[in-house]
């Protein structure tokens, strides 16, 4: 599944915005496809916006999977609101709360400036967790501005949408801002 998804993403034109519809069972395979196959193949810096689980958890998983962190950076919107006292990771910057959508854009912009001219892929994980903390109106506005800004910089935007938690509003929002929707499915029998 990971190889198939990575190939599909690699065929997309620069600046594409893609909705990735996935089930919980495909979550880590999807992350692996992006961070271990698609981004290195295209020589991209991966900016991972997480509002679902703390960056520390994903970093631990990357460590287990032996995925190098050199070109992976996190914008962590959930650790501080959880009041977790864990130490800060040098590859993560923190936004106080997933409601501070402007600050998410600012941190992404900051990391882009520090990327030293490399291509960029921004992963938003996930639209569903952001929807818990924000109303549809402000979330649509956020995605519209951020995606268009990234498009103008020829950066890829990949937005996770967890099938189990998708609502009509979320589907409409994703249709509005994304060029394409990819349903991530496990290999038959795999």
């Amino acid at each position: 599944m990971a190889a198939r998804l990575a190939t599909r993403l690699a065929d997309l034109p620069e600046g594409s915005a893609v909705a990735l519809r996935l089930g919980a069972e495909n979550y880590f395979d999807t992350i692996r496809a992006i961070l271990d196959a698609f981004a290195p193949k295209k020589q991209l810096d991966a900016l991972y916006v997480t509002s679902t689980i703390p960056s520390k958890s994903i970093l631990n998983a990357l460590e287990v999977l032996e995925i190098p962190l050199d070109h992976i950076w996190f914008v962590d919107c959930i650790s501080q609101i959880m009041m977790s006292s864990s130490e800060k990771h040098p590859h993560a910057i923190y936004v106080e709360s997933p409601t501070m959508l402007e600050n998410i854009m600012l941190k992404v912009e900051y990391l882009i400036r520090r990327s030293q001219g490399r291509g960029i892929v921004v992963i938003v994980d996930s639209i569903n967790s952001l929807a818990i903390h924000n109303n549809t109106k402000i979330l649509s506005e956020f995605l519209h501005i951020m995606v268009n800004n990234l498009r103008s910089k020829k950066a890829y935007t990949l937005i996770f949408s967890m099938e189990q938690y998708e609502t009509e509003d979320i589907r409409n929002m994703m249709n509005l801002v994304c060029d394409e929707t990819i349903a991530v499915e496990a290999e038959p029998g795999g």
């Binding site: 106080e96 709360s97 409601t99 501070m100 959508l101 402007e102 600050n103 854009m105 600012l106 941190k107 912009e109 900051y110 400036r113 520090r114 924000n134 109303n135 109106k137 402000i138 979330l139 649509s140 506005e141 956020f142 501005i145």
Partner: protein
């Protein structure tokens, strides 16, 4: 819609490019050269950082830049700019970026009275203008005009100070930022209400509380000589400089901030 003639005249404006990408976009390319601009806001809104970055970029562009500080020592200010990725200490060593402590000027000029009248004000203006000419300063920051104004007896003297300083510096092609400190609930853009009326531009920096989150904001309320956005933006102070994005309207509190 702006007419073609207006667009053409906008293109012809001689601008002082701030080097702060988001702000230059808001200002349609930069501050019209020679303008005196009030940078106003309450504590912790990023006024000093914005002004320092304006000067550092100026020095990097080859424009001599000077910071007149009333309340903070040059050493402390330098500590604030060293973390900038684009700062080079050579700018200070080469005299492209100068810091001046105003209490030192007061001492040298023998201005030891607690309150200044017209005579002292003219001595102070002459001293500042003299330095600007001598050092060929193209960008000047006075931080803060509020602290200078504490020593001025009346609104008339404040008016005289800002107007005369601004007009002489404008004549020299120097773009000046005057920092104004106001209370968070202030309804005016300056402590005395005089500075805002005289300045060519007003940039308001604030804190916007939205559902318990505190966002730093910036809004250009007035800028003579150019078209500009009047919308409110959210800013972040980073080692790559001041970053700006539009304030999202979907969840903002009516009348907030």
């Amino acid at each position: 819609m702006p007419s073609k003639e207006r667009d053409t005249s906008e293109d012809e404006v001689d601008r002082c490019v701030t080097g702060i990408e988001g702000l230059d976009n808001i200002l349609n390319g930069g501050i019209p050269r020679g303008n005196t601009v009030l940078i106003t806001g309450s504590v912790g809104t990023g006024k000093t950082s914005l002004c320092l970055e304006f000067l550092v970029h100026g020095a990097l562009f080859g424009e001599n830049s000077m910071y007149i500080s009333v309340t903070e020592s040059p050493e402390k200010l330098l500590k604030n700019i060293i973390p900038y990725d684009f700062f080079d200490e050579k700018l200070v060593r080469d005299g492209r970026l100068a810091f001046l402590d105003i209490p030192v000027i007061y001492d040298r000029l023998g201005l030891d009275k607690p309150e200044f009248d017209y005579e002292e004000i003219h001595i102070l203006i002459d001293a500042i203008v003299g330095l600007v000419k001598e050092l060929k300063v193209k960008r000047l920051v006075v931080d803060s005009i509020t602290s200078v104004s504490y020593r001025l007896k009346s609104e008339e003297i404040i008016r005289e100070f800002v107007l005369k300083l601004g007009s002489i510096l404008s004549g020299q092609g120097t773009t000046t930022l005057l920092v104004s400190e106001i209370s968070p609930t202030g309804e005016r853009y300056s402590s005395y209400g005089v500075e805002e009326a005289i300045s060519d531009g007003i940039i308001v920096m604030g804190n916007l509380e939205r559902r318990g989150d505190l966002l730093r904001t910036l809004q250009v309320v007035k800028m003579r000589g150019t078209m500009h956005s009047r919308a409110k933006y959210v800013l972040d102070l980073t080692t790559t400089g001041v970053l700006l994005v539009p304030l999202l309207k979907g969840g903002s509190v009516a009348g907030g901030g």
